[in-house]
Amino acid sequence: MKVTLKVFRYNPETDDKPHYDKFVVDAEPTDRILDLLEYVKGYQDGTLSFRRSCAHGICGSDAVRINGVNRLACKVLVQTLRSKKITVEPILGLPVIKDLIVDMESFFDHYLSVIPYFVNDEPPPMKERLQSPEQHERFEDTTKCILCACCTTSCPSFWSSEEYIGPAAIVTAHRFIFDSRDRAGAERLRILNDIFGVYRCHTIFNCTDACPREIEVTRAIGEVKKAIAIGKID
């Protein structure tokens, strides 16, 4: 089946403005969008640039906008789009370096700002620290995050201000705040209790819809907001 791939193009060395290129590709219904991009790069236009690695939705390299929504190119099959016209654009809200490659620096800066590591200075036991399956389940959902940025760059609040810490960072914070073994939860809540912290989230749910790991992002944010509001982590 022939599909038309419309791809956002921008080469910083020669272009002033971005433009779109169209490629007609012979695709199987079960092909990933990433397969199509690889095909274009291999056989039609080698200059097309994008990031990718694992090709099965687990490394988080290839977040792009496909037909208007943030997705991993390797996790969308042609058949699920139900359309023979496929538009691929870079994710919104981050500077475009080249074609589909964006500058992720501010995204990772936000990640770094929430103490994104386990803190517990009490001397550890000889064996493992115990944690019940229920306590584990409390934060399990948010441990799945692969830092792909699909969520943050789908959020209208992030589009309007880059300073907004963004759902991905809050998800990371949530993973630690609700871990019964961690001890820096209060500090993280203090960081998120900020004009550019949780209060820029207006429960728009674009993030939850965009998350390729099916993390309930808005719920995680909601739990953080609640913890801040009532001063308790349950």
């Binding site: 099965h56 939705g57 490394c59 080249k98 000889m126 620290r129 944690q131 399956p133 306590q135």
Partner: protein, 597 residues
């Protein structure tokens, strides 16, 4: 000099092995980590099933049993001192990870949960033992995230999206590396006392593979070009259960949780091939069994795939047949929800890529190229050794999949790779620190960039009319057909010849992209060059080994031959020619025996 950096220790690669060594190295020496991917994109993140350690949280278990299983799994090609070292460090290192906050799944008592995996057995009964410590089916993801987070905590210096293209060796001593900054296209020199390579494997040599696009064997290719040999390259593991046609991995944990492989006649065929542990035999054996079934026309609908069935009714049926029990003694009965909660990502993969719901339908699977047992030869402390006498190349280290200690011999057991990257990553880091405290900086070569620039120039200036993607496709398909699960003299000779032709044609590849910023085409062509080199040394090493052992199965030499082949292959590329040598296997406690499961 612009773009000149100096650190005591340079770690190349930010997967599990790289981060673990950086964590230890940076405590006592100035350290920088160079990675062509943002660290959390590394392949360690895709590992699913678990990391092996004899914690005995569920059933009785001992590091000694783990050692023996690994030796046996390696088909007696593993160096037993290294294996014993790795298995004895397994328990403390898993606790260490837990203390770093790694969110392991838990048993009802709150300890780390464990599940059975192929080849891990109770040495007394011979039955499978739950030894894989897991975090649902994203153990590697959690390891990668946790280690990266700890590196952040420790302020490790990262150079993300810096691809190393060359290692500098001056006067027989390591002096640093050359890397390209992808965002600008500029070359950088990193001057260092010690360099730790942790660049992962090269599964992209094969067509059906579970490996990432970026798994192009950069580390081995770079060192080969610098006269360092590669070890045991013929041993490449094919994992039995990759998604049909795509190769995406379905973890062995599925079988650990009770899933079984089914042929076209609807029977569980592993009974015949491994009567005791059945579907949980080691990977080489299961992959071969699948091939034999398919060859005899018992692939599903006569095609080249089998079913992997984890529907609760199937699992319960065979668990009852095997008499499998829960730790509390009750019979092993699972529900759909339990499978979903223990293997969420597998269910997701099957739904996304196959359109199959594994809780109600079986999944079509076929063997998929998975793991490089071979690599840069090292000793137990990650020090790179460059000949059959184990002479150390000062300052040069390798750890993780890129290295060959050899703890996996001819066939790696599931869960032992995550263990390998942790243990050998850590000790490489520690040894590098010690080394860097003892020595000064070696002077850089007069023109450190020369060799790199020459390589890139060749890629840029070629005016031929070949297409890199064609060459890549042909290489992958020939390697899949002739240097895959089963091998013959004839096939492998064809493969060697074909790969050499492809290498010639590769010189005629034209580069379309002339830009500097993120020239991904230039990089992927360079990577294809690496893959071609590795394909060649793999095929040549395989052709020379006239026996069947572990992952190397020859139809013309179906038996293991301990008399002549109890040795590691070393392979060099000198002036474009491949040379071979052999070194003996270290045997301490376990004399080679026939391998039955």
């Amino acid at each position: 000099m612009n773009n000149y950096h100096q650190y005591d220790i340079i770690v190349v690669g930010a997967g599990g092995a790289g981060l673990m060594s950086a964590l230890y190295a940076s405590k006592k020496a100035s350290t920088a980590v160079l990675s062509k991917l943002y660290p959390t994109r590394s392949h360690t993140g895709t590992a699913q099933g678990g990391v092996g350690a004899a914690l005995g949280n569920i059933e009785e278990d001992h590091p000694e049993w783990h050692t023996f299983d690994t030796v046996k799994g390696s088909d007696y090609l593993g160096d037993q001192d290294a294996i014993e070292f790795m298995c004895s460090k397994a328990v403390p290192i898993v606790y260490e990870l837990e203390h770093m906050g790694l969110p392991f799944s838990r048993t009802p008592d709150g300890t780390i949960a464990q599940r059975p995996f192929g080849g891990h057995t109770n040495n007394i009964t011979g039955m499978p033992v739950p030894r894989a410590c897991y975090s649902a089916d994203r153990t590697g993801h959690m390891i990668l995230q946790t280690l990266y987070q700890q590196c952040i905590k420790q302020n490790v210096r990262f150079y993300d999206e810096f691809q190393v293209l060359d290692v500098l060796i001056e006067n027989g001593v390591t002096a640093g590396v050359v890397a390209i900054e992808l965002a600008t296209g500029e070359l950088h020199v990193f001057h260092a006392k010690a360099v730790i390579f942790a660049t992962g494997g090269h599964g992209r040599v094969w067509e059906i593979t579970s490996n990432a696009y970026t798994y192009s064997g950069d580390g081995v290719a770079i060192t080969l070009r610098r006269g360092i040999p590669a070890e045991d390259m013929e041993f490449f593991q094919f994992h039995p259960t990759g998604i049909y046609k795509m190769g995406i991995l379905i973890t062995e944990g599925v079988r650990g949780e009770g899933g079984v492989l089914i042929n076209d006649e609807g029977e569980r065929f592993m009974n015949t091939y491994a009567p005791t542990v059945k579907d949980l035999a080691s990977r080489d054996i299961v992959s071969r069994a699948m091939y034999l079934e398919m060859r005899d026309g018992r692939g599903i609908n006569g095609k080249r795939y089998m079913y992997l069935d984890m529907r609760p009714e199937t699992v319960n049926k065979y668990a009852a047949e095997d008499g499998r029990k829960r730790p509390d003694g009750s019979p092993y009965i699972v529900t759909g929800e339990e499978m979903l909660s223990k293997l969420p990502d597998i269910v997701d993969f099957a739904r996304t890529y196959l359109g199959v719901d594994p809780v109600t339908q079986p999944m079509p699977v076929q063997p998929t190229a998975h793991y490089a047992m071979g690599g840069i030869p090292t000793d137990m402390y990650g020090r790179v050794v460059i000949d059959a006498e184990n002479t150390v190349l000062p300052g040069m280290y390798a750890a993780g999949e890129v290295g060959c200690v050899s703890a996996h011999g001819a066939n790696r057991l599931g869960t032992n790779s995550l263990l390998d990257i942790l243990v050998f990553g850590k000790y490489a880091g520690l040894d590098a620190v010690e080394y860097s405290h003892k020595t000064g900086f070696e002077t850089l070569p007069a023109e450190p960039l020369e060799f790199t620039q020459q390589q890139l120039e060749e890629l840029r200036s070629s005016k031929g009319d070949e297409r890199a993607s064609d060459i890549g496709e042909e290489m992958k398909s020939v390697m899949n057909d002739y240097v895959g699960v089963f091998r013959t003299e004839d096939g492998m000779s064809k493969a060697v010849e074909k790969v050499r032709q492809l290498k010639e044609r590769f010189k005629q590849v034209q580069l379309g992209d002339t830009s500097r910023i993120f020239n991904t085409e230039l990089i992927s062509n360079w990577e294809l060059g690496n893959l071609l080199d590795l394909a060649e040394v793999t095929a040549v090493s395989a052709l020379a080994r006239k026996e069947s052992r572990g992952a190397h199965a020859r139809e013309d030499f179906p038996k293991r031959d301990d008399e002549n082949w109890m040795s590691h292959t070393l392979v060099w590329m000198r002036d474009g020619k491949v040379e071979l040598d052999y070194k003996p296997v270290v045997i301490t406690k376990f004399e080679p025996m026939e391998r039955v499961y």
